[in-house]
Amino acid sequence: YIHIINKADMAASKGLKILVGCKRVIDYAVKVRVKPDRSGVVTEGVKHSMNPFDEIAVEEAVRMKEKKLAGEAVAISVGPPQSQETLRTALAMGIDRAIHVEIPLAQLEKLQPIHVSKLLAKVCESEKPDLVILGKQAIDDDCNQTGQMLAALLDWPQATFASKIEPSQDSKQLRVTREVDGGLETIDVSVPAVVTSDLRLNEPRYATLPNIMKAKKKPLAKMSPDQLGVDLQPRQEVISVEDPPVRKAGAKVESVEDLVGKLREKGLVK
């Protein structure tokens, strides 16, 4: 699947079409508890909200619209019926329209990034975005896979862990600054491309009451995995989910010499 944008100057064109992924996850402030049967974590009755990195992705898309780099921003969420609330939040932040790929309850718990990326790839075929922005990872599973898999499926360039997105020097590409272990890496990517957002990309705005009201009129389309022709057969089986081990007490030392001595004792330092 190849979709090549007209190499015309990005600034002069009517703007990029952006597709933003939003996932509904357990709110970051909730004390997550493992189910007694250890099959997963308790989600019923627990506060959920938009994945924080996805909020940042939504914010970036809206900012690119405001800067006239983007013309249209579409939000997409793959999840249960309640994912519509997440999409309404995105609409209230300034996204133009939304797509909900509804996953039946039975398949929800077994949904993996491979499935989500296939669903997104299918949607990209029809929507033909110039840029897909996803959160770098979801705070529930911390997979950090969907963006990369999507780029691979589409054979598009990827720029992950973005802390800045701007037009390249010649305005024909996107210049993305990435946060990597060694520091910051800046790359130029051609569009269409997949970018994943990192923490410092921006600070998301609050919706405002007028925008929440306006969002009610914005289109929200529903799709099913069957319509998209994607098989949701799980590739993995979760054997058990357990609490992390209880942290053992540490020991305090009085001086650097003591510290080095203790580290040597434990064979951590030669």
């Binding site: 402030a29 506060k47 909020e55 939040t89 600070e203 919706a207 929440i212």
Partner: protein, 411 residues
């Protein structure tokens, strides 16, 4: 919204409130989400508005609640932020910058903000009440002049009815407004005025005619008008994040074009303002009780005595259950009162009075019981329940004492 900024906020109080408002726990009342769900019975759309207010509160209000109280700071910057979200003129028409929403939406917003600071939410509700009085009764010129300033809260308003000699007997007010050509000359003083000295526009109920309610008009007085001055800042049990002062008029000349509505209509306007004001203040009490109840519940899973969590003692579980009954019954009555106002029900004033009466008393009791559940720690200023308690106590007194609230349904 702003989830990751929350993660990196350092304030201890914020982390307490944040976790408490988001978390669900196990065992008895502690696990059931629907009883303590602040969005109980609400549509998805209302929940979205509530969620915005709650998130804003967790990030921008709750972390500062303690400091504003201790240092007596009136958080004007925070109010400007609320106004940017549309909270400055929630139920004013959109024409001049209002949000065009309902009394129910306003109740949800004030309740949410009160979970982070009762005092700030109360002031926000007073400002909203004043904006509405202008929006509903003002001339086109008055609305066009004032609402574009009040909606974004670039100018703040205060409501002046009570006097040293007339509280519950509000119609006996003595501040006079004598006619002098195109001006009124105001003489008298108002007591216990919230925001006085820090606000820009004073809606003053004053006597333009004979004794009794029919002689009262509402006149808008701008700050810095010669003849307008303020008493000392009162030292209060709570509501420390807001100055409360006497407002004094000494031959204060105010253009007649600042009068809201015809002469003699001021008392009716003041009372209509208060119907909504009562729902709003009751909503603030709901927020205080909600936060206190959740805080107590959380504490009970942490504190252990006699080898068990407090949450395992049935006597204490029963306390929580009773507090939940008090809170939820109050919440439903307040929201019903809001809906009665929204639907123009002629019986709405009585429902508003009942809601204010019930919610302010029950919610104060919830805060008090929550404080008891904290034991000795509840008495320390480091813990938030004492502030919810002190701040919600006055809700039983202002906007019409709870004794007057008992009179209204009987009349």
């Amino acid at each position: 919204m702003q989830a990751l900024r929350r993660v990196f906020a350092l304030n201890q109080n914020a982390s307490w409130t944040r976790t408490v408002l988001a978390t669900q726990q196990k065992s008895c009342l502690l696990s059931s989400s629907s009883i303590l769900d602040i969005g109980i019975g609400l549509s998805a759309e209302k929940r979205q508005i509530q969620e915005l207010a709650l998130t804003f509160t967790q990030n921008e209000v709750a972390p500062h609640m303690q400091k504003w109280d201790a240092e007596h700071i009136f958080p004007v910057e925070m109010f400007t932020k609320t106004a940017a979200l549309g909270f400055g003129a929630i139920y004013c028409k959109e024409e001049h910058g209002g949000s065009g929403l309902s009394r129910l939406d306003a109740s949800l917003i004030f309740e949410a903000i009160a979970t982070g600071c009762v005092t700030s939410s109360a002031y926000l509700s007073i400002h909203n009440m004043c904006a509405w009085m202008i929006d509903s009764t003002g001339t086109e010129e008055q609305r066009a002049k004032w609402l574009p300033q009040l909606a974004p809260m670039s100018r703040l308003a205060s409501y002046c009815l009570t006097e040293p000699g007339s509280g519950s007997d509000a119609a006996a007010l003595k501040t006079t407004a004598k006619s002098d050509g195109n001006y009124y000359v105001l003489n008298g003083s108002k007591a216990f005025i919230s925001g006085a000295g820090a606000t820009d526009l004073y809606l003053v109920m004053c006597r333009t005619g004979a004794d009794g309610p029919k002689g009262i008009s509402c006149v808008m007085v701008e700050k810095d008008t010669p003849g307008l001055s303020f008493g000392k800042i009162e030292r209060k049990l709570g509501w420390n994040a807001q100055p409360t002062r006497e407002v004094v008029f000494e031959n204060c000349r105010v253009p007649k074009s600042n009068r809201l509505g015809p002469e003699g209509s001021g008392f009716g306007l003041a009372m209509r303002g208060l119907n909504g004001g009562r729902v709003n203040i009751a909503s603030c009490s709901l927020g205080a009780a909600h936060a206190s109840l959740l805080a107590a519940r959380e504490y009970m899973t942490v504190r252990k005595q006699f080898g068990k969590q407090l949450a395992e003692f049935q006597a204490l579980q029963f306390q929580l259950a009773e507090m939940a009954a008090q809170l939820v019954s109050s919440r439903l009555l307040v929201r019903q009162a809001a809906q009665s106002l929204d639907s123009g029900d002629p019986g709405a004033p009585a429902v508003c009075a009942l809601a204010k009466l019930h919610a302010t008393e029950q919610c104060f009791d919830v805060c008090n019981r929550a404080l008891q559940l904290f034991g000795g720690y509840g008495y320390l200023l480091d813990f938030p329940v004492q502030q919810y308690l002190r701040d919600s106590r006055v809700n039983c007194i202002l906007e019409g004492t709870n004794q007057v609230m008992r009179m209204l349904p009987c009349s």
